[in-house]
Amino acid sequence: MTRVAVVDYGAGNLVSIGQALQADVVLVDCGQSFDRFDGLVVPGVGAARPAMNRLRRRGLLDPVLEWLASERPYLGICLGLQLLFDGSDEDGATTFGALPGRTIRLVDAPRLPHIGWNQVEVRRTHELFDGIPDGSNFYFVHSYAGEPTADAAGSVLAETTHGRPFTSAVARGALTGVQFHPERSGRDGLRLLANFVGSLRSTAWPSAAVAAVGSAAGSSRVGASSAARAPSFGAA
């Protein structure tokens, strides 16, 4: 089974994500290498600066940046997508800088926050949207969205309109991100998460090594494990 790390920095509904990902899911809430995982999911809602501060304080920022630098599979959800860019207009925070661009306030939006189901118009074929009809509805809850620079416009995978069109999904190499919440978007959301998991290539690990790191401090298993316990959330 593929192993997915979900970064837990106290900003998001991790129960649903852990449950929705059909994989061996480990919530990671303090610093450790992600080497033993096949994919990394960074969820989150809220503003960029407190998120960056919490990632740093928990020793999670450097491992995430190393993961991105090594171009391994990443799925950012909502804030986890916005953090990929250089910085956020919401509070001026400097973010990961993995994609050229900034997180900006939605332009000409009739209502903010943008809360509810809206259509995701897929701009090019990508395995993340396999089996999901173009224009399907996904659940959004946000006021800001990451906008790639003109040079990085090729990373735009999907757009959605609230006021003006904004980037609702990105993909560049193994790096992907969605502004909506697949874990709250019913059948199509579960399909998207399954597509992400399906794209991961399981790393061949000796089983003894897996057992040893599986009980490492700062991790808790959810999802596939029936003995799942409530994930840690917001201890900071």
């Binding site: 649903s16 809602v45 809220g46 009739p110 509810g116 189901w117 399907s136 809850v141 946000h142």
Partner: protein
Amino acid sequence: MLCYRVIPCLDVANGRVVKGTRFVDLVDEGDPPELAERYALEGADELVFLDITAAPEGRGTLLDIVERTARRAFIPLTVGGGVRRVEEMRDVLRAGADKVSLNTAAVADPSLVTRCARRFGRQAVVVAIDAKQRPSNPAAPEAVTWQVYVKGGREATPLDAVEWAVRATALGAGELLVTSIDRDGTRSGYDTDLLAAISRRVEVPVVASGGAASPADFVSAVLDGHADAVLAASIFHRRIHSIAAVKSAMSAAGIPVRLDGEAAA
């Protein structure tokens, strides 16, 4: 284009979904996670749980229900009732809720709204407003106003509902859940005047509540009340109207709704 949302509301007491008229004659309507899953399959866009016992001993039960629901219904969940502190909101979110609704506690301590919004983002903070129309002034019968009530609609406050709505969003509310006490449980339709009065003054989404009887009422809440989402309880619990029937009426009236919910859970 953003879809208008249809939201079933589940009143929860002592771990069960109940329905009564203002806390009396409570009728057991089932297990919350089971009903939540049913509604998700039937096309609900979101769910609201209101803990109407809100007693300390009920808290652990509620968190357990929220978590069991979050594991089964993959649509958003708002939880309200008895949250008075940032830490209590954290616990509810940690159990799997996406938003927390503040009502009495927000009126008693408006800074709670700001502290919760700073900690979790304003999109996670709903301020619920229970409003009752004031007797009209004979000198100016057109100037209708509404008064805010707290503690489950039992206690009047000096607050004007529209002014409180404006202030709540300035404090950090990302959404308003507006219930008409006059209409609640009467099946006489939503108070579209109240909804419109609030909706035109705020930027955040407004959820209509109280009075739904027919699919036409949902249409009116959006077209006349300018609501962004429409909530109802008993007509769904008692299967008087299905979510699909409500959505098809809204769609026929030209209101964008999510119609692909049949297999959404």
